[in-house]
C-alpha cells in the first residue's frame, strides 16, 4: 500500500456510458475516494460487480476487478477475500442484483461477516433492462411490467441486514459527496461485512425517487444524536415509516470477521511446484 495514491488512480480511461446525471457517478467517485483515503491502491484492491447499469462500475474503475453474473457478486468477493485476506475487497451492484436475484447471497454474506465492503447502488428500479420494478420500488410505482405498481411491499434492505446479524449497516446518498465518502471510509475500516446502501437516482426511468426527493426527505443521523452502536436505536431508524435516514445506522463494535474466527490469514495464491510438505501423511491415514 502506498500513501501517495490519489483517487484518480482508481479511475480507468474508459468513459462511463451511464446517462448524464445518473447517480452512479457520485456513488463511484465516493468509492474511489474512500479507497484512496484509506490507503489502498488499485493493485491491492479487488472489485466485484454484478449485472446492471451499476455493475458496469468495474469497467470505469481501475483495480483488479471481476464483472460477474447477475446477483452473484457477493460470493465471488467472499472467495477472493478468503483466498487472500491481504486484498481490499469491495463488491458493488444494483438493488435488483442485490435484493432480488441475489437476495439469498445477501443475507448469507451478512451473516458470514467476511471483512469486505458491499455497496448497493439503489435506484429503486431496474435501469439496464429499461425501467421495470425492482425489489425496492414503491408499492404503487408504475412501470412497464407493473402498470398498477408492484402491489407488494418493498424490501427493507437494512432490516434484512439487521435481522441477519449485520455488523455494519449504513445508508448514503450519491449526491451528498462528503457524507458518502465518510460513510464509505468507515465501511472499509469496519472489521467485518460492511453494507452501504447508497441512493443513486436513475434519471432516466425513475421520476419518483429523484435527487429532489432524497435531498428533501433524507434526515442525516449525524444531526439526530443517533448512537449507531445501539441496536434498538438502529431498529427505530430502520422501521421508521415516516422518515428516511442517512448515515451509519448500526455498527457492532465487537465484530470479529469470519476469516479471523476461522483462522484464515494466508495468501493462498503462492504454492510450490510440488505437493505441500507432509502430503504423504494424507496417504498414511488410509492404512
Amino acid at each position: 500500500m502506498s500513501s501517495d495514491v490519489r483517487f484518480t488512480d482508481f479511475k480507468s480511461d474508459k468513459q462511463p456510458t451511464w446517462c448524464p446525471g445518473c447517480g452512479d457517478f457520485g456513488t463511484m467517485n465516493g468509492m474511489m475516494k474512500g479507497l484512496a483515503e484509506t490507503g489502498n491502491d488499485p493493485d491491492n484492491t479487488f472489485l466485484v460487480a454484478g449485472i446492471g447499469c451499476s455493475g458496469k462500475i468495474g469497467t470505469y474503475m481501475h483495480s483488479y476487478a471481476l464483472h460477474g453474473v447477475h446477483g452473484r457478486a457477493l460470493p465471488v468477493g467472499i472467495g477472493a477475500k478468503l483466498a487472500n485476506p491481504n486484498l481490499e475487497v469491495m463488491v458493488a451492484g444494483g438493488d435488483g442484483d442485490g435484493f432480488s436475484i441475489g437476495a439469498g447471497h445477501f443475507v448469507h454474506a451478512v451473516r458470514r461477516n467476511v471483512n469486505m465492503t458491499y455497496v448497493v447502488m439503489d435506484n429503486r428500479i431496474y435501469g439496464l433492462t429499461k425501467g421495470q420494478a425492482s425489489p425496492t420500488s414503491r408499492e404503487d410505482f408504475e412501470t412497464s411490467t407493473t402498470p398498477d405498481g408492484p402491489m407488494q411491499a418493498p424490501v427493507n434492505p437494512h432490516a434484512l441486514a439487521l435481522a441477519a446479524g449485520g455488523t455494519f449497516i449504513a445508508q448514503s446518498f450519491s449526491s451528498d459527496a462528503l457524507r458518502h465518502v465518510e460513510i464509505i471510509k468507515q465501511a472499509i475500516e469496519h472489521p467485518g461485512f460492511a453494507f452501504v446502501n447508497c441512493y443513486s437516482p436513475c434519471v432516466t426511468f425513475n421520476d419518483v425517487d429523484t435527487y429532489d426527493y432524497f435531498r428533501d426527505s433524507l434526515v442525516d443521523l449525524k444531526e439526530e444524536d443517533h448512537d449507531p452502536t445501539d441496536k434498538d436505536a438502529a431498529k427505530d431508524v430502520i422501521f421508521d415509516s415516516e422518515k428516511e435516514y442517512m448515515g451509519v445506522i448500526y455498527k457492532d463494535e465487537n465484530s470479529v470477521p469470519f476469516e479471523e474466527r476461522w483462522g484464515i490469514s494466508e495468501d493462498m495464491s503462492q504454492i510450490e511446484d510440488k505437493p505441500p510438505e507432509g502430503a504423504m501423511d494424507l496417504v498414511r491415514e488410509f492404512y
Binding site: 480507468s12 472467495g79 478468503l82 486484498l87 448469507h108 494424507l282
Partner: protein, 587 residues
C-alpha cells in the same frame, strides 16, 4: 476353494452397517489382503435396507461380482434383497433371538448360523456391539485370524478411550467362540494374510487427497449425495495446509466463491452432483469467458431432477459436454478407477491453470462410495507435479502491456493462453468479465475482436490437444477384433470380466477412456475392430453417440441404468452375448 471371498452385512439404515463393514474391510486390508467394497443404501437415514459388501482376495480386486459367500443378515429383508447372489453353501449369520428373525430359516442348500448376537454383546458389555459379535462369527467361518480385527477396532474406537476397544474385542471373540462351539463347519475358506501394506480408500477421498496434493487451498461446496464426502474429506485437512473449506448457501454461491478464490490466485475447487451442476452452469460460462482456472467435480448420480440420489449412473455426460449457453471451451475428465480419481484430480488442476479454463472432473457414485485397497506407492506424492501455467509477476508483467502500460489479461496469443496476474501483483490491475471483451478485459461489441477472442479461447483447446496426452488406458489383447470401449467407473468390472471371458476363450481389446473432452481419437482402433461395444451406465448411450460421431461407424451399446453398477460376471455374459449379435440401429 474360491480365490476370493464375498462378504456382506445388511440391515436397516441406522444399524451401524457402514462402520461394521468398514472395520472388517480395514482388518482385511491391514492383514495384507486386497479389498473392494460396495454399498447398497437408500436415500434415508433411519430405516430402509442398507448393506456393505466386501470382496477380498490376495490378488488385486477391482469390482464386485454377483456372488455372496457370507452374509450377516440383521433383517429378513437383507436375505431377500440378496437372494440372487446367494448360492449353495453360502453362509447366513443371523440372530434368531431377534423378534424379526425368529422364524428365519436358511434357504435350501445354504448354511444358517443362528448366533445370539445381541445376547452375547450384552454379556461382553453392551448390546451396541452386536455387529462386532457377528464379525467375530464371520472370522470363524472364513478362518480369518481374529487378531486382525483388534487393530481395526483400535483405529475406530481408540480415541473414545476406556475399555471400549477391549470390550469390542471381547465381543468379537464371543461370536467366534459361539460358532466354534455350536457348529461343526466344514468349509473351505482360509483367508490368508500377507505382509503387504495397503491403504484403503474410496473415490471421493482420492479426489480430495488429489486436490490437496495438487495444492488446492480453497474449497467451497454445498452438501449433496454422493459428492459430500469430498467436502467432508477436505474439511479439517485443507486447513492444515493453510487453506479453507466453506459450506456455501447453495451451489450458485459455492461455484462463485470458488471462482473468486481462483481469481485471487488460489488453486480452487468445488464438488457437487447433477442438480448442483445445473445451478453451477450459469457461472460456468463466466469462468470460461473470464478465463479463470477452476476444477468442478461432478460426482454423478442417477437423474434427471432428483432422480435416485443414492444410485449409480453416468447420465451427465451431455450436460458437462454441452451445458451452458453459448459455446464454451472446457475440459471434461473422467477418472476410471479409484486411484485414477487421485491422478486425474491432479491433472485437472494443472489443465485448469495451464489453459485457464474450467475443468469438469466427473466421477460417479460407484467410484465415489466404493473403497479399494492399493499399495501406497500408487499415490506417490513425489511424482505429483504442479504446473501453474503462464503466471506473471511484477517483472515479467512488463512483457504483456500495451503502449499505455496497461496489462493485457486476455492478450491474443498464438497458443490461445494469456498471461495471468494475481491481484496484489504490482502494475497488473485489470478487469475481467463475462461480457465479450478486448485484450484488456473490457467489454466490447467490436465484431473483429469478438471473433478474435472466441478463436483465442478455442485455440487453447487445440493447443491442449497437441501438447497433452489424451490417450485411453488400454487393456487386453491389442490384436483382438473384439473392441470394448468404456468411460468412468466401469473399467474395473470390465477388466475382471475379461478374465472370465478368457476362460471361455474370448479375447477382448479394452480401451478405457478417461477424457470426454478432448477425447482420444479412436478411429483407427475402431476401424481395425470387427465388433465395437461401448459400455456405460446410462440409457441412451451418450458416449456411444460421440464414438459413432467421431469414427463414423455404428457401435454396439451395452447400457445399464437401473441404478446398480456393472458387475464383472454380469458384464462377461453381456459382452459375450453382444458379440454374437449384429449391430442394432441407434435408438
Amino acid at each position: 476353494m474360491p480365490e476370493d471371498l464375498n462378504w456382506a452385512i445388511g440391515g436397516e439404515a441406522g444399524d451401524g452397517i457402514d462402520s461394521t463393514g468398514k472395520i472388517f474391510a480395514q482388518a482385511l486390508s491391514r492383514a495384507g489382503r486386497h479389498v473392494f467394497t460396495s454399498k447398497d443404501f437408500a436415500s434415508r437415514i433411519r430405516g430402509g435396507y442398507t448393506a456393505y459388501k466386501i470382496r477380498t482376495s490376495v490378488d488385486r480386486v477391482e469390482s464386485v461380482v454377483d456372488r455372496l459367500d457370507i452374509l450377516i443378515a440383521l433383517t429378513q429383508r437383507t436375505v431377500e434383497e440378496n437372494m440372487e447372489e446367494l448360492h449353495e453353501g453360502s453362509v447366513i449369520i443371523y440372530d434368531g433371538e431377534r423378534t424379526t428373525m425368529k422364524d428365519f430359516e436358511a434357504p435350501d442348500g445354504m448354511i444358517g448360523l443362528n448366533v445370539p448376537l445381541r445376547r452375547l454383546a450384552e454379556e461382553a458389555g453392551g448390546a451396541i456391539m452386536q455387529n462386532i459379535v457377528a464379525l467375530g462369527a464371520a472370522c470363524e467361518v472364513s478362518e480369518f485370524p481374529i487378531e486382525n480385527l483388534d487393530e481395526s477396532l483400535e483405529k475406530r474406537f481408540g480415541q473414545k478411550g476406556g475399555s471400549i476397544v477391549e470390550n469390542n474385542s471381547k465381543a468379537a471373540r464371543a461370536g467366534q467362540e459361539y460358532v466354534r462351539e455350536n457348529y461343526d463347519l466344514d468349509l473351505d475358506y482360509e483367508l490368508e494374510t500377507t505382509d503387504a501394506d495397503y491403504v484403503l480408500l474410496n473415490g471421493d477421498e482420492a479426489i480430495g487427497m488429489g486436490a490437496i496434493a495438487a495444492g488446492c487451498r480453497f474449497y467451497a461446496g454445498y452438501p449433496i449425495t454422493p459428492a459430500t464426502n469430498v467436502m467432508e474429506y477436505m474439511t479439517g485437512r485443507v486447513e492444515q495446509f493453510g487453506g479453507a473449506v466453506v459450506q456455501a448457501e447453495d451451489e450458485l454461491s459455492a461455484i462463485n466463491m470458488a471462482l473468486g478464490a481462483a481469481r485471487a490466485g488460489a488453486r480452487s475447487m468445488t464438488a457437487t452432483s447433477g442438480p448442483g451442476i445445473d445451478l453451477m452452469t450459469e457461472t460456468f460460462g463466466l469462468i470460461a469467458t473470464s478465463e479463470t482456472p477452476l476444477v468442478i467435480t461432478n460426482v454423478m448420480r442417477s437423474g434427471p431432477s432428483t432422480g435416485m440420489p443414492t444410485k449409480q449412473e453416468q447420465g451427465d455426460l451431455n450436460q458437462m459436454l454441452y451445458g451452458g449457453h453459448g459455446e464454451i471451451p472446457r475440459f471434461v475428465l473422467t477418472p476410471t478407477s479409484i486411484s485414477e480419481c487421485f491422478h486425474k484430480t491432479v491433472e485437472a488442476f494443472n489443465l485448469a491453470e495451464k489453459y485457464q479454463t474450467p475443468v469438469y472432473l466427473a466421477a460417479d457414485l460407484a467410484l465415489a462410495v466404493s473403497e479399494q485397497t492399493f499399495p501406497p506407492e500408487e499415490f506417490d506424492m513425489d511424482k505429483v507435479e504442479i504446473d501453474r501455467g503462464k503466471v506473471v509477476d511484477e517483472e515479467s508483467l512488463g512483457e504483456w502491456v500495451n503502449d499505455k502500460q496497461q496489462f493485457k489479461p486476455h492478450a491474443l496469443t498464438e497458443d490461445g493462453v494469456s498471461p495471468r496476474a494475481f491481484p496484489g501483483t504490482k502494475g497488473g490491475a485489470h478487469m475481467s468479465t463475462g461480457l465479450e471483451h478486448d485484450e484488456l478485459g473490457r467489454r466490447t461489441e467490436d465484431t473483429d475482436m469478438r471473433v478474435e477472442q472466441v478463436d483465442k479461447r478455442n485455440r487453447k483447446v487445440e493447443t491442449a490437444i497437441e501438447n497433452e496426452d489424451w490417450s485411453p488406458r488400454e487393456f487386453g489383447d491389442a490384436d483382438s477384433g473384439n473392441l470394448v470401449i468404456s468411460w468412468g467407473s466401469n473399467e474395473g468390472a470390465i477388466r475382471e470380466a475379461m478374465e472370465f471371458l478368457e476362460e471361455d476363450d474370448v479375447s477382448v481389446r479394452f480401451l478405457s477412456v478417461p477424457y470426454i473432452f478432448p477425447r482420444p481419437d479412436l478411429t483407427e482402433e475402431i476401424a481395425a475392430a470387427d465388433d465395437v461395444i461401448v459400455v456405460e451406465c446410462n440409457a441412451t448411450g451418450q458416449f456411444a453417440d460421440l464414438i459413432e460421431h467421431d469414427a463414423l461407424r455404428r457401435v454396439k451399446r451395452l447400457n445399464k441404468y437401473n441404478g446398480v453398477r456393472f458387475k464383472a460376471d454380469e458384464l462377461a455374459a453381456k459382452i459375450k452375448q453382444a458379440l454374437s449379435e449384429s449391430v442394432e440401429a441407434t435408438p
